[in-house]
């Protein structure tokens, strides 16, 4: 499946300054695209910069360098007013559904708010549209005047999704939307997300640690490590064959719910390097089971592994050939 491009990210970096001599390289020189109606899964180490990428895409934090093109327009240079006009098209769903909802507002108020802000519709029309959206994500009208604390976690997350989708956005960043839900609720929320994408043609950036969920929802998957993109490719290709040792480690570390299956070997040991003043080298080198001296010389570039599958590892060709 190919998608017309919606978002193009080129050489995006975000540095958080700590003091005169130190900064956190949260995101370093990352490029990727997201197509219209496509879901790009974003996985990676905790602290690898996934959330930062998502926030930069929405300009909720200012990128330090690089450009983001959204629907043909330059998002990085957009003024505050232009940005406000774009807000309804760029939305966000949070990890912790309850925390993301204002405890003092009813569900209806919360979902109607984006419409009140961005359209000239009457209060009644906004309410009606919000109720309609809530119904579409599977919440019945009786929930409309409830407060977030009165709902189950699954319902709360539906409210978060409804709030994000009510303005019919082009892109929604889903930052670990299912990580606080139990398996049954998770399945429900993934259903809702899939259904809404089919209905609205919205694109998702789906950030998650849950590889099963990522596999299910994403058309393509991008893998981050310590602020770098290390591998990106179609879900099918990536699941069949990982061209970067970190992706390999990631997929092999997944624990199966079946206790009779042997516990998968723990291939990576060692500490996650610090993101403070990152060096120009492969970020995985300290934990990589197959590292060689040259890995320390520079950050390996993204190499085309064929079939729109890219990996940033000097030994990727060997890995693919099965020579390792």
């Amino acid at each position: 499946m190919t998608f017309a491009p919606l978002v193009q990210v080129a050489h995006l970096s975000k540095r958080f300054r700590l003091d005169r001599h130190h900064y956190v390289g949260a995101v370093n020189d990352i490029s990727f695209t997201i197509g219209k109606g496509e879901t790009l899964g974003l996985v990676g180490e905790s602290g690898s910069g996934k959330t930062t990428v998502g926030r930069c895409l929405l300009r909720l934090i200012e990128p330090s360098a690089g450009s983001i093109t959204f629907a043909g327009a330059d998002l990085t240079g957009a003024s505050a007013a232009e940005l406000r006009a774009l807000r309804p098209r760029l939305q966000l769903v949070f990890q912790d559904p309850l925390a993301s909802l204002n405890p003092r507002r009813t569900i209806g108020q919360t979902v109607a708010e984006p419409l009140r802000l961005h359209t000239r519709q009457s209060a009644a029309a906004c309410r009606a549209a919000a109720a309609e959206m809530l119904r579409e994500v599977g919440l019945d009208a009786s929930r409309f005047d409830r407060y977030p604390i009165e709902l189950t976690a699954s319902e709360q997350q539906r409210v978060g999704i409804a709030r994000a989708l009510v303005t019919r956005p082009d892109l929604v960043v889903l930052d670990e939307p299912t990580s606080t839900l139990d398996p049954i609720m998770r399945a429900e929320i993934l259903d809702v997300l899939e259904r809404m994408q089919a209905a609205l043609g919205v694109s998702y950036l789906f950030i998650s640690h849950d590889l099963t969920a990522v596999e299910r929802l994403s058309h393509r998957i991008a893998v981050m490590y310590l602020g770098r993109l290390v591998e990106i490719g179609s879900t099918r290709a990536l699941m069949r064959q990982q061209d970067h040792p970190y992706t390999r480690a990631l997929l092999s570390a997944v624990l199966d719910a079946d206790p009779t299956k042997p516990i998968p070997p723990h291939v990576v040991e060692g500490e996650i390097p610090s993101a403070v003043n990152p060096r120009d080298e492969c970020p995985f080198v300290g934990r990589c089971p197959i590292h060689i001296p040259v890995c320390r010389d520079a950050m390996p570039g993204m190499a085309d592994m064929g079939g729109a599958h890219f990996a940033a590892c000097v030994r990727a060709p060997e890995l693919v050939r099965g020579a390792l």
Binding site: F16, L18, H22, V24, V43, G44, E45, S46, S48, T51, L60, R84, R87, P88, Q91, L92, F94, D96, A99, S100, L101, N102, P103, R104, L117, H118, Y147, I149, E150, T152, A153, S154, E155, E176, S179, T180, L181, D182, P183, I184, M185, R186, A187, E188, H209, A249, L250, V254, L255, D256, A257, D258, P259, T260, K261, I263, H266, V268, E271, I272
Partner: protein, 580 residues
């Protein structure tokens, strides 16, 4: 698609009666006393049995009697009558002044919070300047400052009000500012920006209302304090002058007779003043509790269908002599005694044993853990017993329990970021935790904290110790919390979703660390998780909860391969990616 709706009747905060019903007996007394003060402030002057301003030299300084319950003062006026009339003056001045100070202080506090660390230099400097100015202002003793103000502007009710308001507005400014700084870290604040609210609008529309409980608590405390200040000003003659009935002036007027044995003239006004200040302070706390969203609508649970397996599981043997932890027919009763939040659960845990707790959301996993930690949610009643190392946690004195908790009995709770104080650096937070249990120097505490951070897989511990919570990613914050839990080599670790939000390779490292603790140091563990994979490979036994009941419990291999209950079946299916 299966859609689980909560069918429990949901009650909302509306209605005074609902709030009243949710109050404890002590709280009700406070509310009644406060109502009494308000009534006296309103109606006092009309209720007075004797004239309150007309002197009667014939009746001077009479001791308390049936005619004059609290005696008479040096003008021959009935003290009781004046006491009824006086609060109107003090309370009105205090109320108006406090309202004024909150109306000025709160918006300024919002601005100060917004301006602080604002990328625009002008604004951040303005915010900075505002706080410096306050520092200077607050360096003066409040009372002196108020006296100076009245001295400059001259006596008179408005000037007393202005002075009292002026010395109190910094309190609200600072309070709202710090509330705002912490509310700003909450995801819903970011959500407001994400839908396109400006910072300013988001602060007033979404954040300020959430600072309300704290402000209201402070409001009430401040009213009490303002009464004291007003009385103080009058006492030194800088406030309300006699003959207007006013507490401070009454105390002052009677003070010189104290030594002569005519104690009643100033003692009773003094007591009244103390009572007003005290009750105002307590009332604030009651209101604060009642204002918490959902305070009067505790989560309600659906009652699980009776299951054959449930009966079997709840009657599981409880008296294991080797048990480190023994939970015996534990129930947790909330609002509705008909639908307990937890129902007669029994389980036990030996040293080094790892118990996994699973179930759909709302099944009671976290409640069970909290109850085991003797931290049941407010407003609930615990039945049954929890014994830890042979001691009954319920009856343990609070101090003992505190020592136990955080040391031998450690907890890892979900939502790590929420537990860390947004205004305190990680290192200071951890050092305080350490020093609460062990006597050691600040430097030593810091060294230990750094060591623990390395143990949970964080690099660059020195820098992490200097970080504020918002500078950490979710996974790092979680690991910091795990490190805190492990600081004191606990015997039992109670963990609620300990690895949520961690990438699978780090998750494995944390789990391996926990496994090592159990194997090498015999640390028993209770782990609530929604990830059956963790249970399958890192736990010995598993307990399945549904609707507050234990529906199934047994060795992991048995339960996960041949589940006997429907929930377990569904959980396993959903974990495999099959749609429920």
């Amino acid at each position: 698609m299966a859609f689980v709706a909560s069918k429990g009747p949901s009650r909302r905060l509306h209605g005074v009666r609902r709030v009243w019903a949710g109050l404890s007996a002590g709280d009700r007394i406070v509310v009644l006393l406060f109502a009494l003060i308000v009534s006296v402030a309103i109606a006092g002057p009309w209720l007075a049995p004797h004239p309150t301003m007309t002197a009667d030299p014939a009746q001077r300084l009479l001791p308390p009697s049936l005619e004059h319950w609290l005696g008479t003062d040096d003008n021959g006026i009935d003290v009781f009558s004046r006491l009824l009339a006086a609060p109107r003056t003090d309370v009105t001045i205090a109320l108006v002044a406090t309202l004024l100070s909150v109306l000025v202080g709160a918006p300024l506090g919002v601005l100060a919070g917004l301006f602080e660390s604002h990328p625009r230099r002008v604004l951040s400097l303005t915010g900075e300047g505002m706080l410096r100015l306050l520092d200077v202002l607050q360096a003066f003793p409040v009372f002196i400052l108020a006296m100076v103000l009245v001295a400059i502007r001259g006596p008179g009710t408005e000037n007393v009000i202005l002075a009292v308001a002026f010395v109190n507005f910094p309190v609200f400014l600072r309070l709202v500012r710090s509330e705002l700084l912490s509310l700003r870290q909450r995801p819903f604040a970011e959500a407001a920006r994400a839908i396109g609210r400006s910072d300013l609008a988001a602060a007033f529309v979404h954040l300020l209302p959430n600072a309300l409980p704290t402000v209201v608590v402070q409001l009430s405390v401040t009213v009490g304090f303002a009464v004291l200040l007003t009385a103080g000003l009058s006492f030194v003659g800088a406030g309300i002058r006699p003959p207007t009935p006013e507490l401070g002036a009454m105390i002052a007027g009677g003070a010189k007779f104290m030594a002569l044995g005519q104690w009643w003239v100033s003692l009773f006004p003094g007591l009244a003043l103390g009572a007003i200040v005290f009750v105002c302070g307590l009332f604030g706390e009651v209101i604060g509790r009642a204002l918490e969203p959902g305070a009067s609508s505790a989560p309600r649970r659906r009652r699980a269908p009776p299951l054959a397996a449930a009966a079997a599981a709840t009657n599981a043997p409880a008296a294991d002599p080797q048990a480190l932890l023994a939970v015996d027919r534990l129930s947790l009763i909330g609002d509705d005694p008909e639908a307990p939040l937890l129902e007669t659960m029994s389980l036990s845990l030996r040293p080094g044993e790892r118990l996994g707790i699973v179930g759909v959301a709302g099944a009671g996993k976290s409640l069970l853990l909290r109850t085991v930690l003797a931290l049941p949610p407010p407003g609930t009643t615990v039945r049954g017993r929890v014994r830890f190392e042979g001691r009954d946690l319920e009856t343990l004195p609070a101090a003992e329990l505190r020592r136990l908790r955080g040391a031998t009995l450690a907890a890892i709770l979900p939502n790590a970021k929420a537990q860390l104080n947004p205004l305190v650096r990680i290192g200071d937070f951890m050092a305080a935790q350490i020093r609460a249990h062990v006597r050691c120097s600040e430097a030593e505490a810091r060294r230990r904290a750094a060591k623990m951070l390395v143990a949970v897989g964080l690099t660059d511990p020195e820098r992490r110790l200097d970080a504020y919570p918002h500078e950490l990613s979710g996974g790092m914050a979680q690991r910091v919390c795990i490190a805190i839990a492990l600081l004191h080599r606990p015997r039992l670790l109670v963990a609620d979703e300990p690895t949520a939000g961690l990438d699978v390779t780090v998750q494995r490292q944390v789990l391996d660390l926990m496994l090592k603790l159990s194997k090498e140091q015999n640390v028993a563990q209770i782990v609530a998780t929604r990830d059956l994979g963790i249970v399958a490979h890192y736990c010995d036994t598993v307990a399945v909860l549904e609707g507050g009941r234990l529906v199934e419990m047994g060795p992991v291999a048995a339960v996960l391969t041949a589940p006997s209950s429907a929930v377990t079946h569904r959980l396993i299916a959903a974990s495999r990616g099959e749609t429920a």
